[in-house]
Subunit: 216 residues, 2 copies
Amino acid sequence: MPPESSPTHPVVAPHAESRQHPVTRPSTGDELRATALAQFASIGFAGTSLQQIADAAGYSKSSVLYHFASKEALLGEVLTPAIDRLEVILGRFVAAPDGTASRRRFVDDFIDFLLEFRLELHTFINQAQSLRGIPVIDRAGLLIVRLSDTLCHEGASTEDRIRFGIALGGAAYTLVAGMTFLNKDIAPADEIRQALSVVITELLAPVAVHTSESRK
Amino acid sequence: MPPESSPTHPVVAPHAESRQHPVTRPSTGDELRATALAQFASIGFAGTSLQQIADAAGYSKSSVLYHFASKEALLGEVLTPAIDRLEVILGRFVAAPDGTASRRRFVDDFIDFLLEFRLELHTFINQAQSLRGIPVIDRAGLLIVRLSDTLCHEGASTEDRIRFGIALGGAAYTLVAGMTFLNKDIAPADEIRQALSVVITELLAPVAVHTSESRK
DNA sequence: GCAGGATTTGACCGATCGGTCAAGTAGGGT
DNA sequence: ACCCTACTTGACCGATCGGTCAAATCCTGC
């Protein structure tokens, strides 16, 4: 029976260290997940073969299928943490009272999400339509729609929707594809974070104004 | 020998009508190009098989390979018109004197380009990294870099680069993927155009200000 | 009607696809 | 020593991959 996924059980190192320092080396499953994610994001799910993933990670194809029931299951395990995180962010946002401060914190949360799960977002964003029917994809799709509806309310203008779409798709592209051939990783990291914050706020702020802080 | 590509020669209908009215039905090559483009954009080049393209277009796989030398050649013919158009737009922009009016016309040209070649742009934008080495892809990559450099000048800030990336990737995403599951094609078409114009100008205007119209 | 190029197609090729299976190795508890 | 579990792997399966080729079929000028 494959090692069950849910929490990657540490087994050793009683003094819990979360990051993969040489003390707690990443498990085989983690290596495979990371390798698969990189391939899914750049070549696409349909275009990535289990053999490629296995070769890139230094295992055999059979080992990949030992750790994950199928290629789709592997995709599910790869994307789930990102979707969980996005769900938390959205939940926190709808729970808080409408207001500028709440909006601002949401944007901050969202940018943290973008930076941490850029590959997962890029994978989902650009392939959701062709992967419809896979549970994890459908779940993510519903989340995105909920997010859009929450940010734009019901009577949102076309411009508001387009602002949200450009922020979402633009960030996903810039942080993954654009990063590696527009600016050759010339990125002081926190400089990127700050620039991203300015632009995303600029894109999503008008939406906030329309819906809750319109005429003060 | 396959029918040569360059200009789709009409053969009939001396009174030239460019659009595919029932009078001049689209040629087999055009049908295949359109079908392939749709598949490349949604499933990805690597994930699309010649069989799928043939089936979707109502031909056999052999027919596809009769009209196009290979899968890569098909990709090339599909993307080339868009790249040609982009090249013209960029050329016109660098030829004109730096100024706000020139910038504004460039944004208009660019939005026309986005709307007309949305599938081509989406295909290239999200798969350029994994398709490096294919001539048409490398050519498009160079164009994008030139475009970025022209818009941002040399000493452009990280924020400027990110603005350009978000505008480019965001528009490509919104017009293709976002369109079909965020807003169920509720799009009065010119309403989309206008909203797009506002948001793209907003994203690229600061770049213009920095480089040429900074301190008036 | 007929010749001849343009087009379409099915049969076929070696390679690779996702996935199954059984044989094997490694190591810890007893 | 023993066994049991976790893990890894190569051989193998039917299906499909991109691509070749030679027979059909279609269409047009004569």
